[in-house]
Each structure stands twice: as structure tokens, then as C-alpha cells.
């Protein structure tokens, strides 16, 4: 019985516009969804369970509003859903401390997560918790195979490689050619009734704090041309004005 964990995070829908109010991002009118790469993590975790047996537990950190992504994971087929109750700002070390102690206590053998979350784009959580736990980690995988020795496909040097990983390990997932399954009606009904296991945690001190958020500086207006012949003028500007060619 392999105990598999998958970490999921709620982020603004990637098609939404980000607005700033005061000196921070205002997410009050933004639709929240599961971070896109986490969907591939859920899929890899479910495939792992299907080939070796075991359970998949989806874990998120956040307030009650973050439970929707757990229900979404439940509808696709995870067994348990856990929310670590913490709604305050956490820097990378604080977040990883909370998650790694939860994973150590839970007796998990493999942890999947997205290669990065669509809000921070940092990609620090997977490798960071692996280091906290003293585990192996492979990031940005595009495929995994848990029949026999556990292997993943990940970028290495100039190409990709099939890499054998000694468990326990943390695996962060890229899209690759992975097709994610969609929830069926039965799954959605089960997810509605499913109980979220809510865990309290001690919030460690953060040494990095957010000073401000702002929109990126607007670009000066560019030069517009009509018709394909103007491409020669643009090529000249790339050489003479931009000094690129």
C-alpha cells in the first residue's frame, strides 16, 4: 500500500485580468481555480496508485475558500482531501516547514505537485520540501512509470532522460503529453459529500515579507506599419535602432 500525496493550490484563473488596488493585487473579483500544473500532478498521482495500489491524498494550505480545489481533486478520483488551515502569508521556508511536517507525519512515500504555481511561478515548494525531508526530487517531469522500478521522464542537459528515482521522493510535474482525466457525474456527486480533513498548524516566522505589488511598467507606444513590404523597414530598425541584428 503506497501512500501518495499530491499538493494542490488555488490560484486566479490564468485567463483573468489582474487588478491592483492600493499597493497590492486585488483578487476579490477573480475566479479561483486549481493551478494548471497541479492537474498534471493529480493525474500522475492517480496513475501511480492505479499501477501499484495505495491511496492518494490531496493536500492544500489555505482558508476555507481553498477547499474547492480539494473537491475538484476528489471529483477526479483522489481518496482523501486535507486542508491545512492557514490563511496568512507564508514565505517559502515557512510553507515548506508546514507541508514537510504534515508529509512526514502522514507516512507518505511519494509526493507529486505542479512544477510551479500560476500565481508565484516560483517552483520552490516541491524541491524545498524534498530537502526539508531529506528526500530525492525530480522537477519538471513530463511522464512517469511506477511499474517495476519507479522512473520519470525529465529534461536533462540538452534533451530529456528516463531517470530512475529512489523513493521516497518529491516529483514536480510539467504538462508534456499527459492528458488529464475529467470528472464524471458520480465523481462530482461524491466530491460534494466528501469531508475535508482540516488540520491546524503552527505558523512559523517568515523572513521574507511582501512590501508592495504593482502593475508592470507600461511599454512606450510602439511603431505601427501597414502591409507586408514594411517588414524591410522593421528589419532595418532592428539593426539600427534596437541594435539586435
Amino acid at each position: 500500500m503506497t501512500k501518495i500525496a499530491v499538493l494542490v493550490k488555488q490560484v486566479p484563473d490564468t485567463n483573468s485580468k489582474i487588478v491592483i488596488s492600493g499597493d497590492s493585487v486585488d483578487l476579490s473579483s477573480v475566479k479561483m481555480v486549481m493551478s494548471p500544473y497541479d492537474e498534471f500532478a493529480v493525474e500522475n498521482a492517480l496513475r501511480h496508485k492505479e499501477s501499484v495500489g495505495g491511496t492518494v491524498t490531496a493536500i492544500t494550505v489555505g482558508g476555507a475558500g481553498a477547499e474547492k480545489v480539494l473537491k475538484d481533486a476528489k471529483a477526479i478520483g483522489v481518496d482523501e482531501i486535507v486542508r491545512i488551515d492557514c490563511d496568512s502569508y507564508l514565505d517559502s521556508n515557512a510553507l515548506q516547514s508546514i507541508l514537510s511536517s504534515m508529509i512526514a507525519e502522514g507516512g507518505f512515500e511519494v509526493v507529486y505537485c505542479g512544477k510551479s504555481a500560476a500565481d508565484t511561478g516560483a517552483g520552490s515548494t516541491g524541491p524545498g520540501i524534498a530537502e526539508h525531508l531529506g528526500w530525492a526530487s525530480v522537477s519538471n517531469i513530463t511522464d512517469s512509470n511506477s511499474e517495476g522500478n519507479f522512473t520519470v521522464v525529465a529534461p536533462l542537459n540538452d534533451g530529456n532522460a528516463v531517470i530512475e528515482v529512489t523513493l521516497p521522493a518529491v516529483i514536480t510535474c510539467d504538462k508534456g503529453n499527459t492528458k488529464v482525466r475529467k470528472p464524471n457525474v458520480k465523481g462530482i456527486m461524491q466530491a460534494k459529500r466528501a469531508q475535508v480533513d482540516i488540520r491546524a498548524c503552527e505558523v512559523p516566522t517568515s523572513s521574507v515579507s511582501v512590501v508592495s505589488q504593482s502593475l508592470p511598467p507600461a511599454k512606450p507606444e510602439g511603431k505601427m506599419y501597414e502591409g507586408g513590404q514594411s517588414a524591410s523597414e522593421v528589419a532595418r530598425l532592428l539593426r539600427d535602432e534596437a541594435n539586435i541584428i
Binding site: 511561478g121 524541491p127 505589488q213
Partner: protein, 309 residues
């Protein structure tokens, strides 16, 4: 002043030019910059020891640096790296290493830094739709985007020491898979030419490839193109669910400029957009916009560029 340690970025067995940009970033954060060079052959370090601002070079020599293994590299590099603020490149591999090094030292990591002012660090968040500035107390590990800071000039003579490093490797390479195409990857390129669904069919990407060959550029694609055509692999996708790129020049052809595409390329130094729709949002972000079909514009662009090379 705080000690700063730059982890040299290696590419195909030599030190990548972005390492000198990391040295500039280090000088904004503290003094006495040490460069740690993880390598299998200590001669690669010669190129960095004469860089202005570098006081010490620590060559960490080990066979484990032949192939990336996150835990092995983190333990080996940690063992030779002094206390201080650690600065690495924001390449996918080095971001991963930065996260592990930070966790190993129980400090936090700040990724994708594009500006440093008064000790505060600014990075893009929400895939570049917003910028976030953070302050740090004590040491941290940070990763810095390429092409943002000026390279530190030549003109130094650092003391070089070679240390045999070791770490426990937890992964084993079983098989190398050659990349489907021999082309430059978008994440490594200084110039990118990308096509969208406006290219009409995947076969027409050959016109982008011709220009890419002339310029030494990589070919990218929008999500719409990748989702529509099986022949356009996800590895080419630029955007929020693909690769985030920061080249000197980005040429968008037949790409309307959906929010999620802009998120992956808007910080490019120069943007050229070619689109037949004058109202395409991509034009609001272009330095040079051409309202034309790709059939009209690309042959002219190709011949003009060829004449300049």
C-alpha cells in the same frame, strides 16, 4: 556588509555569460562576492576569475556535476559554500537548485528577481501580469532572470581554490532521449520567432524556421497553435502554461496576444508583431507592429534579414 555567493551557471561544459550578470546583482546586495563553480573539470573556472567584483572563486569539483541530481548537487554545493546571500540563475535547473539550497539552510528563496533596490527584490508574479517587491531579513537564496542586469566587466583577479566536493545522488539516468528537433529551445534563445493559429497550418511553421535559421533563433508557438495541431509540441509553447521567456527579440506571427501568451513573453526586450488584424491585443505590447498577413510579411522580412547577416 553581507557576504554574497554566486553559483556559476554552466552550459555545455563552460561558464554561461549570465554568471557575470549574477556578479552585478551580487554587488547590489553585499560585498566580497565569491563565485562557486560546480564542475567536473576545474579548468572551466578560468573565465570567471578575471571578472570585476569577484573576490574569490571556489571550484567545486565532482563527478556528480556531470548530470543534474537535485539532492546530490544541493548537498555538494552547500558543503563548499560560505554563509551569506546565495545568488543563482533563474534557469529551470538553477531555480530548482536554489529552492533546495535555501531549504537546506532553513532560509527562504526568492525566485526570478528582475530588479534590486535598497536590498529589496522585485519579481514578476501572476506570470508577469503584476510585479511583487519583497524585503528579506537575514540570509536568503535568490535566483535572477537572464538579460536583466548588465554583465560585470572584466578586470579582476580573484583568488581561486579547488575543492573536491561530494554528495549523495538519489537518481540514476537510465536512458537519454534525444530532443525531437535539433532546434534551439525557446528557453535558451536570445531571439525567438513564434507562430500562432494565424499560421493556418503546422506546415507553414517552416517559414518561421527559415527566419530562425537566418537569425540563430528558436521557434516558439502560442497555446492555441499547440492545442490545435499535434505536430506542434508543448515544448515549443510560450505562455503561462508553457515557457516564460525573456529574449532580446521576440517576433510574434499570427498570434493575437491572449493574456496567457503575453504572460510568457511580455518582458522580452524588443517585440515585433505581425498580424492581419489591426485590433489584435499583441500590438499594444509591440515595439514594431506590422498589420499584414504572414504570407505578405515573412518573405520580405526573410530577404531583408538575410541581406544584413
Amino acid at each position: 556588509m553581507t557576504n554574497t555567493i554566486v553559483i556559476a551557471e554552466l552550459n555545455k561544459g563552460s561558464i554561461h555569460s549570465t554568471t557575470k550578470e549574477l556578479v552585478s546583482a551580487a554587488q547590489m546586495l553585499g560585498s566580497s562576492c565569491t563565485v562557486v563553480v560546480p564542475c567536473t573539470d576545474s579548468s572551466v573556472a578560468d573565465s570567471i576569475s578575471s571578472t570585476s567584483g569577484v573576490e574569490k572563486v571556489i571550484v567545486a569539483k565532482s563527478d556528480i556535476f556531470a548530470n543534474y541530481d537535485a539532492s546530490g548537487w544541493a548537498s555538494a554545493i552547500d558543503s563548499v559554500t560560505p554563509e551569506g546571500i546565495i545568488i543563482a540563475s533563474a534557469s529551470p535547473q538553477s531555480k530548482d537548485l536554489a529552492a533546495r539550497l535555501a531549504a537546506r539552510r532553513k532560509v527562504s528563496v526568492v525566485q526570478d528577481v528582475v530588479a534590486i533596490q535598497d536590498g529589496k527584490l522585485t519579481s514578476p508574479v501572476y506570470s508577469g501580469k503584476a510585479m511583487q517587491t519583497v524585503s528579506m531579513s537575514g540570509n536568503a537564496v535568490i535566483s535572477v532572470r537572464q538579460n536583466v542586469f548588465d554583465a560585470s566587466p572584466d578586470g579582476g583577479s580573484a583568488e581561486v581554490s579547488v575543492i573536491d566536493a561530494s554528495g549523495n545522488v538519489a537518481t540514476a539516468v537510465r536512458e537519454l532521449i534525444a530532443r525531437a528537433s535539433a532546434r534551439l529551445d525557446v528557453s535558451e534563445a536570445n531571439i525567438i520567432i513564434s507562430g500562432g493559429r494565424g499560421m493556418g497550418s503546422p506546415d507553414n511553421f517552416s517559414h518561421l524556421e527559415q527566419i530562425a535559421d537566418t537569425l540563430g533563433a528558436a521557434v516558439g508557438a502560442s497555446r492555441a497553435a499547440v492545442d490545435t495541431w499535434d505536430d506542434i509540441p508543448h515544448s515549443m509553447q510560450v505562455g503561462q502554461t508553457g515557457k516564460t521567456v525573456n529574449p532580446n527579440l521576440y517576433i510574434a506571427v499570427g498570434i493575437s496576444g491572449a493574456i496567457q501568451h503575453l504572460a510568457g513573453m511580455r518582458s522580452s526586450k524588443y517585440i515585433v508583431a505581425i498580424n492581419k488584424d489591426p485590433d489584435a491585443p499583441i500590438f499594444q505590447h509591440a515595439d514594431y507592429g506590422i498589420v499584414a498577413t504572414w504570407e505578405e510579411a515573412l518573405p520580405v522580412l526573410q530577404s531583408s534579414l538575410s541581406a544584413m547577416m
